[in-house]
């Protein structure tokens, strides 16, 4: 807070509405000495009739941010939520600051900013009323969109005073004090979710639903082999297909995250374009990637495990020597696969190119990056591109990439003055994803008689060139239990791959937590210790461990772990044969989560997750409790999908799986009948919830399977080891 200053501006809108804007900028002098205060922006509009329009600035993909961020404004403004309308802001990062949705950052990045904007606006409304009544500001209060002077019994609605308020000088935002938590009336209450009535009545609110008059619809066939190029195609034949208006080859720019080469078919309606595509025959130049296979990657990993690691990521003490002389040690290998995002709304985007200017309607998690990529790919000035944000049917990290946006923009530029809608099929979406990368970990460790981990060695075989990991495949040198052990090493060897990779919900953590906490469980059993006690012993005293980017609050993790053990009845319940409890915890994206799973496994390896207890610490406030619980439940079910059946395999340089039947997610009858969610509120600023509940689920379930059956899950997806849902 102290490192930031806030700039606000008030302006009078026609009709006497009050417009309040703000943004935050780092107080540190900008690089190269240039003073660069950003322009203020508009978050709040108070109309004379009392309707308050708040801007949802960040992309909404189901994480609830279109409701949560306006709630922060409404709280500080003391608004009547019934009078609040929320509109989705267009992309304008000068006006609004960062507008991305990823890394569970939307809440922490906006918490201070929006409280200041709201509190400043409220103070100006109070000042205006106090001036009218000729009373001190300190004697006035606000409630449900009105200013009150209780002593005289006077009151005035915000809408009536907004015009006067907007003419006042701006208070110094640094001196405006946001509310204290005990006074909250909106934060911490589950206000009606924005767009909920539209969702249950089928209103066209999603990106895929967006249409303009005269719009044409496009499909885009890319080379099945990653990085391959379209050489020629039977375009004349395709152009003669019913309702087809255009068909052309796109050379691409050599970057599959921007514009992969392919063939565009455009028609009056999407189905006609897709029908024509069935007749499309393309000659591809497949390139060198055609030799890549998952079988080849697996064989290479097995070979590399027999050699010394290529490079060290971290080395503390001498784990090799300790392991060599240890009495109790564990030496095991874990494997996890590439997986797809599989968000339900397939990739799509609308674009229109007129007179050198591009207008885009996009379902992007990073519209700002999308704009830059489109500018580069189409040789346009960023100032000539406008991006409107549309609600999306799930993100999970897939829409951090902007390939659909660049493709739609490129196609639109070829057909100027005509709005174009690109829509991928599910097969396009699954076969041209930026996959969660697979990986292989050879884990070795030792424990002493007291139940301490005396050594930890991880040889991580992952993907990349030399020492450069492909996106989202790396392990941080500070990853737990780094800094908790004296003899600790993580070393790596990378396998080159041409498979596009990228962040999937809780990137890196979604696979690493499973390995780390399964292995800790193996060490606990080797030491003959209770898995929860063993972990508490590992966490040690409540304290901060590590520095800077590696800092890890052992107190917060202990608190959620102890609470998870308590609420799950850990060690206190008699479970039937074939049923077991497992535990896992993980710190990611600023959130601390511990989870316990109760799982039954029968002789045919049929698995039933009876219940999951999740305990999280994401700071001092849970802004929207219903949405927060929904995110945790969803993350847990998502984790189960990742464990059992999901795997992307590569053959001849392309993705084998094409649709949900080959990359299955959990269905209702496989989901746990109950998920119990608790939040431990700490004195930390609130942080995000989209990601941190997911990672601990996988080890909790894997460890419960071991407790229930004696079988250790060291390969994902578990179906490869003969497991299936009961």
């Amino acid at each position: 807070m102290n490192s930031r200053r806030f700039f606000l501006r008030v302006s009078l809108l026609s009709g006497g509405a009050m417009l309040i804007g703000g943004h935050e900028a780092l107080a540190q002098p900008p690089q190269r000495g240039q003073a660069k205060p950003l322009d203020p922006n508009a978050f709040v509009k108070i109309a004379p009739d009392g309707v308050v329009t708040l801007t949802g600035k960040n992309p909404e993909m189901g994480q609830g941010i279109k409701t949560a961020l306006p709630m922060i404004l409404a709280e500080e403004l003391d608004l009547d939520w019934k009078m609040v309308r929320v509109v989705q802001g267009d992309l304008d990062e000068v006006k609004f600051g960062s507008q991305s949705a990823g890394g569970s950052r939307s809440t922490p990045n906006n918490w201070d900013l929006l409280r200041r904007v709201g509190a400043t606006a409220r103070l100006m409304l109070v000042q205006a009323a106090a001036n009218e009544w000729n009373v001190p500001v300190a004697e006035c209060s606000t409630e449900l969109g009105k200013v009150y002077h209780k002593a005289s019994g006077k009151s005035v609605a915000y809408g009536e005073i907004a015009a006067k308020a907007s003419a006042l000088p701006m208070p110094n935002p640094d001196q405006v004090k946001p509310k204290e938590s005990k006074d909250y009336k909106i934060i911490g209450k589950s206000m009606p979710t924005i767009d909920l009535p539209a969702m249950v009545t089928g209103k066209p609110i999603y990106s895929i639903d967006f249409k303009l008059p005269g719009m044409l619809f496009a499909v885009y066939e890319k080379c099945p082999v990653f990085g391959g190029k379209a050489v020629s195609a039977n375009l004349d034949e395709i152009r003669k297909m019913p309702r087809v208006t255009h068909a052309f080859i796109v050379e691409g720019n050599g970057d599959v995250s921007s514009l992969a080469s392919g063939v565009a078919i455009v028609a009056e309606k999407w189905w006609y374009a897709n029908e024509a595509r069935k007749k499309l025959r393309v000659v591809w130049e497949e390139g060198p990637t055609v030799t890549h296979t998952s079988v080849g990657y697996n064989a290479k990993a097995a070979e590399l495990f027999n050699a010394k690691p290529a490079f060290a990521i971290r080395k503390d003490g001498d784990p090799e020597a300790v392991i060599a002389s240890a009495a109790k040690k564990v030496d095991v290998k874990y494997t996890f696969p590439f997986i797809s995002h599989a968000q339900l709304e397939p990739g799509n985007c609308a674009a229109r190119y007129v007179d050198g200017k591009l207008e885009v309607w996009a379902p992007s998690q990073t519209p700002g990056r999308g704009l830059q990529m489109a500018a580069l790919a189409l040789s346009l000035k960023p100032a000539d591109i406008t991006i409107h944000q549309l609600r999306t049917g799930g993100g999970f990290g897939r829409r951090l990439a902007n390939d659909y946006l660049v493709e739609a923009s490129w196609i639109a530029k070829q057909i100027p003055n005509t709005p174009i809608k690109l829509l991928w099929t599910r097969e396009d979406d699954m076969r041209h994803d930026f996959y969660r990368p697979g990986g292989y970990q050879h884990m070795r460790g030792a424990v002493d008689d007291k139940g301490n981990i005396t050594a930890w060695h991880d040889h991580f075989v992952s993907f990349g060139e030399g020492e450069k990991f492909v996106p989202s495949s790396n392990i941080s040198p500070g990853e737990f239990p780094a800094n908790f052990l004296q003899n600790f090493a993580v070393e790596a060897t990378l396998i080159p791959t041409a498979v596009p990779t990228g962040p999937l919900r809780a990137p890196r953590s979604n696979s690493l937590a499973w390995v780390i906490h399964s292995f800790i469980d193996e060490l606990a059993y080797a030491a003959g210790k209770d898995p929860v006690q063993f972990r508490l012993n590992l966490l040690g005293e409540p304290r901060m461990v590590g520095k800077g980017m590696e800092s890890y609050d052992a107190a917060r993790m202990r608190a959620v772990l102890e609470k998870a053990a308590e609420v799950s009845g850990w060690g206190k319940r008699k479970l039937p044969k074939g049923t077991g409890l497992g535990v896992g915890f993980h710190y990611s994206h600023s959130g601390y989560f511990a989870e316990v799973a109760e799982v039954s496994v029968d002789a045919q390896k049929r698995v039933k997750v009876n219940k999951v207890w999740a305990v999280g610490d994401v700071g001092s406030e849970i802004i929207h409790p219903s949405s927060a619980k929904n995110q945790v439940e969803g993350a847990i079910i998502d984790g189960l999908s990742e464990m059992m059946n999901q795997e992307i395999t590569i053959d001849k340089g392309h993705t084998v799986q094409s649709n949900y039947h080959q990359h299955q997610m959990v269905r209702m009858k496989q989901a746990p009948p109950e998920i119990e969610v608790h939040f431990v509120k700490s004195k930390n600023s609130p942080t995000g919830l989209g990601e941190p509940p997911l990672p601990p689920l996988l080890p909790a379930v894997a460890n419960a399977i071991f407790a229930a059956s004696g079988i250790r899950v060291r390969t994902l997806p578990m179906a490869k080891e003969g497991f299936k849902w009961a």
């Binding site: 189901g62 089928g202 209103k203 999603y206 639903d209 339900l344 397939p346 799930g394 209702m668 989901a671």
Partner: protein, 163 residues
């Protein structure tokens, strides 16, 4: 040749190829976009509509096969959100991204039309064809039970509190 059906209670005629799936007739010919495209192969259920009261996957249903049939879509369930299931969905704040929920609601509505007091197992079986990528299954199941209580006379909040 034009194909005629009864769509949400009204006679509708479309002149499109016989094999155009009902999903694309709804979305692009009739501009009713509540029914969603998810997989195109009947795996996800996002495109679920009713044909003579039965839930069908409109992505796999050639429009010619619904000639003369009664089709109900999410837009016809209740445009104002007055159906007990829609009210229950809102009361329990079921959706996250919401993309699958039209299909979920249509499957649930077909279930309640023939089974006025479904068990958990009945609901799980009826909803087995509907994926929710966000994982809102626990709430969907609760909301179906809540809708049943509302149909039996409770207000949404009463029925929820009485749970």
């Amino acid at each position: 040749m034009a194909i005629t059906m009864t769509l949400n209670g009204k006679a509708v005629s479309v002149d499109v190829p016989q094999n155009m799936p009902l999903l694309w007739v709804l979305r692009d010919e009739l501009e009713m976009c509540g029914t969603k495209f998810g997989c195109g192969i009947g795996q996800c259920g996002a495109c679920t509509v009713h044909q003579d009261g039965q839930p069908i996957r409109s992505c796999l249903t050639p429009v010619a096969s619904v000639a003369g049939k009664k089709i109900t879509t999410i837009e016809g369930l209740s445009p104002e959100g007055a159906h007990a299931l829609q009210k229950a969905w809102m009361e329990l704040d079921v959706p996250q991204c919401g993309y699958c929920q039209a299909g979920q609601l249509m499957s649930a509505a077909a279930l309640l039309a023939k089974n006025s007091n479904p068990t958990d197992a009945d609901i799980e079986n009826a909803m087995d064809g509907n994926l929710c990528r966000c994982g809102t299954y626990i709430r969907i199941k609760k909301a179906v039970h809540l809708a049943v209580r509302m149909l039996n006379g409770s207000s949404p909040s009463e029925a929820n509190n009485n749970e």
